[in-house]
């Protein structure tokens, strides 16, 4: 064993690395520059010339940045497989959504006015604690899923990778902020939500299927709900939580919609596969056997502020909005017609009925 004080006598001159200047004469595209704009130097502004050319198919499963020259000598395969076809993961908006994510990060520690939370009646505090227990659980899975897919994103399609990395961060914050709310005001964590199709999202082995469940239906419903957070919140802190989380969810939903749009434009045959996935996932969402106490009982209770009949009325108002927005998003993505063709789950179609 050599002790630290003996190290000095063992010190030799460090070996000098070999100087190889071949990289000074590469034929990668040279002479590109970019000027910062109103929002600084965004991804959009550097997506120029060859570096902005997104290959429809990438053969590269290494970590090499798009547009860099390949290394000299043998390079290993990094992962068993990557999704090389752009229709698998690409979205025209991914870069923009990533830029937006970076500029709109917030802190659950300092951006929520926690001091506005007064003591709530015990029933209301319990209901809010239950809702937040279910939400922290949902958000937990929402972060695991993009993490799972990251190694499969081709470096040539890095915009989608960066977006998913920002989603991992956003969902960490959501997991955290709902846990904080549950533990902030006396309630605590209550009953596990359990089910509602969370596992289907995690177990999907096709990215577009996963994205239609997570980004379009799941987060779409969550976003519509959060945007109506004023109806649930009892103080400024809760309002702010829903408002800020809704802003993040909008990006996640937008990614899903623009990804599906790109995929369907370039691979129209995928439509039936996505329909099938939505048939299955809509069913899980409304399956009475998988009912989530937080997203049903506690939510209704909070909406009515303890008046269950009023809560039900508002719940259907929320549900109607969720379904309308969901159908609209599918329309934009090029997958319209689920209602008209009778394919939308009857329990969701029923929510559109005004009575």
């Amino acid at each position: 064993m050599v002790t630290a004080d003996k190290l000095d006598e063992l010190q030799l001159e460090p070996e000098v690395p070999e100087l190889d200047l071949s990289w000074l004469n590469l034929d990668t595209e040279w002479g590109v520059s970019a000027e910062p704009g109103r929002k600084g130097l965004t991804l959009q502004q550097i997506n120029k010339s060859l570096y902005g050319d997104i290959p429809a198919t990438s053969e590269d499963n290494s970590a090499r940045p798009r547009g860099a020259a390949p290394p000299e000598g043998a390079a290993p395969r990094m992962t068993p497989w990557v999704l090389g076809d752009a229709t698998e993961t690409f979205s025209e908006s991914a870069g923009l959504l990533y830029d937006e994510a970076v500029s709109r990060q917030w802190s659950s520690a300092t951006d929520i006015p926690w001091d506005t939370m007064d003591e709530l009646p015990e029933d209301i505090e319990r209901a809010m604690a239950q809702l937040c227990t279910s939400l922290t659980e949902v958000e937990f899975i929402a972060g695991d899923v993009p993490g799972k897919w990251l190694p499969r994103i081709a470096a040539d399609h890095f915009e989608s990778g960066l977006f998913l990395m920002s989603q991992v961060m956003d969902e960490a914050r959501h997991t955290d902020v709902f846990r904080k709310r549950a533990l902030a005001n006396g309630g605590g964590l209550l009953l596990q939500g359990g089910g509602g199709g969370l596992r289907q999202i995690l177990e999907a082995e096709d990215f577009t299927q996963m994205s239609s469940m997570l980004h379009i239906l799941g987060e779409g419903f969550v976003q519509s709900l959060f945007r109506l957070g004023e109806l649930i919140a009892h103080n400024e802190a809760e309002k702010r939580i829903f408002r800020l989380a809704a802003q993040d969810e909008s990006r996640h939903v937008a990614y899903g919609v623009t990804h599906l749009k790109y995929t369907l434009e370039n691979d129209p045959e995928k439509a039936e596969e996505v329909h099938w996935t939505l048939d299955m996932f809509e069913n899980s969402t409304v399956d009475p056997d998988q009912v989530n106490p937080g997203l049903a009982g506690a939510l209704v209770y909070l909406l009515g502020d303890g008046d269950v009949d009023e809560g039900w009325r508002l719940f259907w108002h929320v549900r109607r909005k969720q379904v309308l927005e969901y159908l609209h998003r599918l329309d934009v993505a090029g997958l319209g017609g689920r209602l008209e063709s009778g394919r939308l789950h009857p329990a969701l179609a029923g929510a559109l009925d005004e009575s």
Binding site: G31, P70, P76, S107, K148, G186, G188, Q192, R199
Partner: protein, 364 residues
């Protein structure tokens, strides 16, 4: 059963409407009020302040394979998920919650927080060299974020603090990737040549999380030693800022990886030899990979152009020596000080450490 009248009445109303009310029956750990610590002086409501009552009990073994929040009451109908890590010693560090909040408090934006307008022509050789380094750092960042992300689906909610912190590592990786890409494409240059990537295999191939962590200690240590030379290497104010901000992020990552490995070594000392195996592998790949373009590009920068590069290689050798020293320093903090004796022969040359067999002959 609910005790207070108001809760009993709530339960009755819900039941009459056919809504789930079982959540009103469960025992409540009433009175946990983390908000009381959320003062501006305390940094707001930081995650550390949630760890009170049963919610702060981080179990040695977590036995629930669903996404149940730690401290909530299980719903036994819930399907099992695919988590594989249920042991505290495999992932834990007491620093996680704090580092998670620090990462958020230190957040920065590569679009707006870098003085891009300070970029100016620096001559073709230097621009090529900066772009070459940028290409290689981007490549590592991509791998780092991808491989870190992959572990999220393995770690159960029992260790939620670890997962939240890893979320910030993934996001920091994204920023590390794009800020260097921006630098390469903003100043009249372009991307350079990609690396061979052999050195990343210990990250992508890891079977256990601690294997991934200790390989990350090596890679992050090599990177941080480089970033600490930012003042010397930066050609413009923009680069100086990039070096500074990236360094801060990587310091946080190392704080976790190192503290976790120290925790593991204390809790499971019998895994020491196994960990050395992972280090053997990580070092071997790093040494074989060589990364000549990195050190040659550094030579061009330190030599102020290709003419001065040859002479500057002695300084580059010194920087590479520092990298290995930095790595060994972090390993000492991990309670892996015995690595010194077992360091890969190539890396010994980089660091100017006598070959292991020579050392053995010295009477101490």
């Amino acid at each position: 059963m609910p005790e207070s009248d108001v809760v009993a009445a709530a339960k009755e109303r819900l039941e009459q409407s056919g809504l789930p009310s079982n959540w009103l029956d469960i025992p409540v750990h009433w009175g946990v009020k983390a908000k009381e610590q959320a003062t501006p002086e305390n940094g707001g409501l930081r995650f550390e302040y949630l760890n009170v009552d049963i919610y702060g009990e981080v179990p040695e073994h977590w036995d629930n394979n669903t996404e149940i929040p730690r401290g909530a009451i299980p719903d036994t109908r819930t399907e099992q998920m695919g988590y594989s890590i249920f042991s505290k010693s495999e992932v834990w560090s007491d620093l996680c919650a704090g580092l998670y909040e620090d990462a958020i408090a230190d957040r920065w934006n590569s679009s707006a927080d870098i003085p891009w307008e300070s970029l100016a022509p620096i001559g073709s050789d230097l621009e090529r060299a900066v772009c070459q380094i940028a290409t290689l750092i981007s490549e590592y960042a991509w791998t780092k974020a991808q491989t870190t992300g992959r572990w999220l689906q393995e770690i159960s909610y029992g260790y939620i603090e670890v997962k939240l912190f890893l979320g910030t590592v993934v996001f920091d990786g994204a920023r590390l990737y794009e800020v260097w890409r921006k630098r390469a494409l903003a100043n009249g240059g372009g991307l350079g040549r990609g690396g061979r990537n052999w050195k990343f295999l210990p990250l992508t191939q890891s079977y256990t999380f601690s294997e991934f962590c200790v390989a990350s200690v090596m890679h992050d240590a090599m990177l941080i030693a480089l970033l600490r030379h930012g003042e010397q290497l930066a050609q413009t104010e923009a680069e100086r800022k990039i070096y500074e901000l990236c360094q801060k992020d990587i310091e946080r990552h190392l704080a976790y990886f190192v503290d976790h490995m120290r925790y593991l070594m204390l809790r499971e000392p019998e895994r020491r030899e196994e960990v050395h195996r992972y280090l053997n592998k990580a070092e071997w790949y790093l040494a074989k990979d060589g990364d000549d373009t990195l050190y040659s590009a550094l030579g061009v920068i330190m030599g102020d152009g290709r003419e001065g590069a040859e002479e500057a290689m002695a300084d580059v050798a010194e920087l590479r020596r520092e990298q290995v020293e930095t790595y060994l320093g972090y390993l000492r903090e991990c309670h892996l000080g015995d690595r010194e004796d077992r360091l890969n022969e190539e890396l010994r040359k980089w660091a100017g450490i006598m070959p292991a067999e020579e050392v053995e002959k010295i009477p101490i």
